[in-house]
Amino acid sequence: MGTMGLALPWKARISSTPREPAAAGRWGRRVEPSEQIAGGPSAAAVDATSEDAALAAACRSGDLRAYERLYAMHGVRMKNLARNVLGNPIDAEDAVQETFLKVQRSIASFRGQSSFVTWTYRILINTCYDARRSRLRKKEVANDDSEETPRMEPRAPGAHPTLRMALERALEKLTRHQRDVFLLYEVEGFRHAEIAGMLEMTETASKNTLFQAKKNLRLMLEPPRSSAAETR
């Protein structure tokens, strides 16, 4: 990797201080920047595991309040993840709703081999990619080959809209796994152990995929070498 800086629009505005722990609830907490935890599972992890099992049991019993709890804990994250995969909030809401229905339909077959929430996110990711494929097929039928990747619809103005758009475009050029791992780790704040469960890969593969994703994003977002040289 070269020494030139990224010509990212946020370069001058963001600090180089370590990022804050993901503020996305207990499922988003992770050790930064490394994930290695000394000793056995923490009390919080044990609580999370038992609550996850309780939530799964309540959903299995058909209690709609359990699904509401699942939504309260993860609904916005699920929708945000779906939004980043599908590119628009309408498709994202459809995918999240379909995910809840799939969870309800197949909760009887959930054996607890992964956590209930991990299982739910796996269903969500698969549902999102089913929707992408379905959308692509419809476009092919309509002979509309203007674009193969989802068109990102504008969202609520953020702090750095230009940065966000550049990142969205670059993410679309990554492989599916690279995009998924980047979104789950960097945006949604999941740990590699959780991502491995969601994407059915090893933790090592998740870490390596994230590394490759970030390397590729840097290459896509950094300016051509000549202009970089001029700025220095």
Binding site: L8, S34, K79, Q97, F100, K214
Partner: protein, 220 residues
Amino acid sequence: MNVTCSDRDRIFEDGTAAEWAAMEAHAASCPVCEEEVRAWKSLSVAAKELRDYSDSPSFWPRIERALAEEAARNAQRAEHRKWSPFLPSFSPAWQTAFAGALVLVLTISGWLIFHPTGPRVENDKSLLQSSALKEVESAETAYELAIDKLAAEAKPQLENPATPLFANYYEKLLVLDSAIADLRAQAGMNPSNAQLRHELLAMYQEKQQTLQEVLEARQQ
């Protein structure tokens, strides 16, 4: 812990907290690594731009409604299974196939009932017609013979009529014989025509009546 520029990618990929601290300490004195660490972390910060955790108040009610509808459908299916213990073992595809087979069997049965097998039925009908025709023809022959006997008895008066009345009976019988000959010819071409047979019978009855009148007139 001492790290060098060559450790950078490995630490970026899977470094421990201690290794990251060592890398940052190294970056403080290495402009190349300083830039790389800063750019690497910048991507993480930039990723936060993709977070939009705003909730839509109508979204959960929509999901809840869909879940409730699905639960109601499942309950209906469960109730249906309770009363139809055989159905759960068949998938909808098999149930459709069974229904199709049932419709096919009913259609074939209906066809056989209302359209009996061609050749056998045709033969039965032919035998029946032939049998009835034989009965009619033998009755006609017997009737004709009986009338011929009457005609033989009345023949002397008719061939030599003593009065105008017998002459009239003779002419009437000639007309009747002519009509009977016509009807017999037609019946020969269309033996199963019941109307012709009725007309023929009426002619025979008329001839019989006339001959009886001739014989009665002779006795007077």
